[in-house]
C-alpha cells in the first residue's frame, strides 16, 4: 500500500492558484466577470509578480506591500506590470506596449475601478462568441488612448479589479464605445 500523503497547498498557494484561475478565464473571455480569491490589487500582484518583475504602482502603501514580493519599483514606461489605484490616464499614456517583434514586452495594467457605471463598450475579438457589452468605470479618453497606443500584436493588457470581481481586456479585444 502506498503511504504517501497527498500534499496540501498552503493558504498562499491556494489564494494564488484561485486568483490566477480567475485572471486566466477573465483574459480568455474578455468582459466576463470572474472572482479572485481576495479583494483588491494586492492579491493580483502576489499571484503574478516577484523579484523578476519591474513594477509601477501609483499608491505608496500598495507599492510598499508589492515591494515585499521582491519586485523592483520602476517608472511607468519601464514596468511590466502597472498597478493603478488612482487616475488611470497616466498609466495608459506611458506604459510600454511592446513591439511587433517582441509583443511579450507589452505591459499589463491592473486598475482598481468599478467594473460598471462607465461608458458602455461593445467588445469583440478572441474569447467572445459574437459580442459582449462591458462598462468599467473609466473615462472615455482612456479608451481613445488605448486605441491610439495599440498596434496589434503590440499593445496593453488591462485587468480591472473591483473588490473581488475582475474583468480583463487583453490587447486582442476590439473596443467600440457605444
Amino acid at each position: 500500500m502506498e503511504m504517501i500523503v497527498p500534499p496540501r497547498p498552503d493558504a498562499g498557494e491556494t489564494r494564488d492558484n484561485q486568483t490566477f484561475e480567475a485572471l486566466m478565464w477573465a483574459m480568455s473571455r474578455p468582459g466576463k466577470v470572474y472572482e479572485i480569491a481576495e479583494p483588491g490589487l494586492l492579491s493580483v500582484a502576489m499571484t503574478l509578480v516577484d523579484i523578476e518583475m519591474q513594477v509601477y504602482c501609483d499608491d505608496s502603501a500598495l507599492a510598499e506591500a508589492i515591494s515585499r514580493t521582491g519586485a523592483c519599483k520602476a517608472a511607468a514606461d519601464e514596468a511590466g506590470y502597472l498597478f493603478v489605484a488612482g487616475d488611470p490616464m497616466p498609466a495608459i499614456r506611458t506604459a510600454d506596449p511592446g513591439t511587433a517583434l517582441y509583443p511579450d514586452n507589452g505591459a499589463t495594467i491592473v486598475i482598481a475601478a468599478s467594473i460598471s457605471g462607465g461608458p458602455r463598450l461593445q467588445l469583440t475579438g478572441p474569447g467572445i462568441m459574437t459580442t459582449i457589452e462591458a462598462s468599467p468605470d473609466l473615462p472615455l479618453a482612456f479608451w481613445v488612448e488605448r486605441a491610439r497606443r495599440s498596434a496589434y500584436p503590440a499593445g496593453l493588457d488591462l485587468i480591472i479589479v473591483e473588490e473581488r470581481r475582475v474583468i480583463a481586456l487583453p490587447r486582442s479585444t476590439q473596443v467600440e464605445v457605444l
Binding site: P7, P9, E13, M24, I51, M53, R68, T108, P153
Partner: protein
C-alpha cells in the same frame, strides 16, 4: 524594517505541485500573455522537472501551475490513457498535487495531451494542454530564430504556402500529415503541435481554452475560446482531414472517428479508435454498463 522571518516561508519538504512559487508566477505571467496575443509564441524559463526534456515537460509545467486539489486530470499520449508516458505524467501530477486522476474526457478539468485532441466535445470550463515538440512553424523554411521572429512580426508567411505548393506539385496533394500550420486570430501562424489534420478544426471557435507548451524549446502559446484557427489552404484546394470516416474500430465496432492503423500478418490492416477511452466507453455501453458518452466533434466522420 523588514524582519528576515517575514521574507522566508516555513520549511516544507516540497513545494505544492512540485514547481516553486517563483516558477509558477513566471508561468502565470507567460500564460496570460499567451492568451492576450493568441498564437504568439512567448518565451519562458522552462524549469527542470523530473522528466527528460522532450517528454512533455512543457505541458507538465502548465498543468503543474494550474493544478489544485479539486482538479481532475486526464493525460493522453496519441489518444491513449494507458501508455507509459501518459501514466507516468498522470501519476506524477496526482502525487504532487493530490488531484484526482481520470480517463474520462467528460470528467476532466485539465487534459494534458500529446498529439491528439479527444473526440468528445470539450466544455467551456475545461483546459486542454498540448505538449509541443517544435513550436516554430517557420523552422522548416527559416532555421534562424531571430529571422523567424522578424517574419512573425511582419506576418510574412508566404514560404509556408510554398511548402504546401511544393507538396502538391510533387505528390498531387498536400502531404502535411500532422502539425498543420494554421492561422490564429487572423494574425499569427502556429503549429498546432503534431495533432493530425483531423483535430485542427476542433481548435477553431472552440468552447475550451488551449495552451500549447514546448518545454525543450521554452515557448508557450495559447488558443483562447472562440478564436479563429484556420489551416493554411489555397482558395481552390480545400482543407481535407484524414479519410477515416468510413473506418470501423475492430474492437469496439465504433465508426467515424480517427483510427490507428494496425498492420496485419496478411498485409491488410485493422483499425482501432485512437481515442482509446471513447473505445472503452463504447464497449462498456455495448455490454450494458451505465456509461456516459458525450457529444463528439465529428459525427459519422463529418465535422458538425
Amino acid at each position: 524594517m523588514t524582519a528576515l522571518s517575514e521574507l522566508t516561508r516555513p520549511w516544507a519538504a516540497m513545494s505544492y505541485g512540485f514547481l516553486d512559487a517563483s516558477a509558477k508566477r513566471e508561468m502565470r505571467r507567460k500564460m496570460l500573455k499567451a492568451i492576450a496575443v493568441p498564437g504568439c509564441q512567448m518565451v519562458y524559463a522552462s524549469r527542470e522537472v523530473p522528466m527528460a526534456r522532450g517528454w512533455g515537460t512543457g505541458g507538465l509545467q502548465v498543468t503543474l501551475t494550474l493544478v489544485n486539489p479539486a482538479s481532475v486530470v486526464k493525460v493522453i499520449d496519441q489518444g491513449a490513457d494507458d501508455s507509459v508516458n501518459a501514466v507516468s505524467i498522470r501519476k506524477f501530477l496526482a502525487r504532487v498535487s493530490g488531484a484526482r486522476e481520470t480517463w474520462d474526457t467528460l470528467e476532466a478539468t485539465i487534459l494534458q495531451s500529446r498529439h491528439r485532441i479527444p473526440e468528445e466535445l470539450m466544455r467551456e470550463d475545461q483546459i486542454l494542454v498540448l505538449q509541443v515538440p517544435n513550436p516554430e512553424p517557420l523552422r522548416p523554411v527559416e532555421p534562424n530564430m531571430s529571422v523567424a521572429r522578424e517574419m512573425h512580426a511582419d506576418a510574412d508567411y508566404g514560404r509556408l504556402w510554398l511548402i504546401l505548393y511544393e507538396q502538391m506539385v510533387r505528390s498531387g496533394r498536400i502531404m502535411q500529415g500532422a502539425a498543420y500550420p494554421s492561422l490564429v486570430n487572423g494574425r499569427h501562424v502556429i503549429t498546432p503541435s503534431p495533432i493530425p489534420r483531423w483535430d485542427v478544426p476542433k481548435l477553431h471557435m472552440a468552447h475550451h481554452l488551449t495552451f500549447l507548451s514546448a518545454g525543450r524549446e521554452k515557448r508557450i502559446f495559447a488558443v483562447p475560446p472562440f478564436t479563429s484557427v484556420e489551416p493554411l489552404v489555397f482558395s481552390d484546394v480545400p482543407y481535407k482531414v484524414e479519410e477515416h470516416g468510413d473506418l470501423t474500430c475492430h474492437r469496439s465496432g465504433v465508426k467515424g472517428y480517427f483510427m490507428n492503423e494496425i498492420p496485419q500478418d496478411d498485409g491488410s490492416s485493422a483499425f482501432e479508435l485512437s481515442d482509446s477511452n471513447l473505445g472503452i466507453k463504447a464497449i462498456q455501453a455495448r455490454d450494458g454498463e451505465p456509461v456516459k458518452i458525450g457529444e463528439t466533434w465529428y459525427n459519422s466522420g463529418a465535422m458538425q
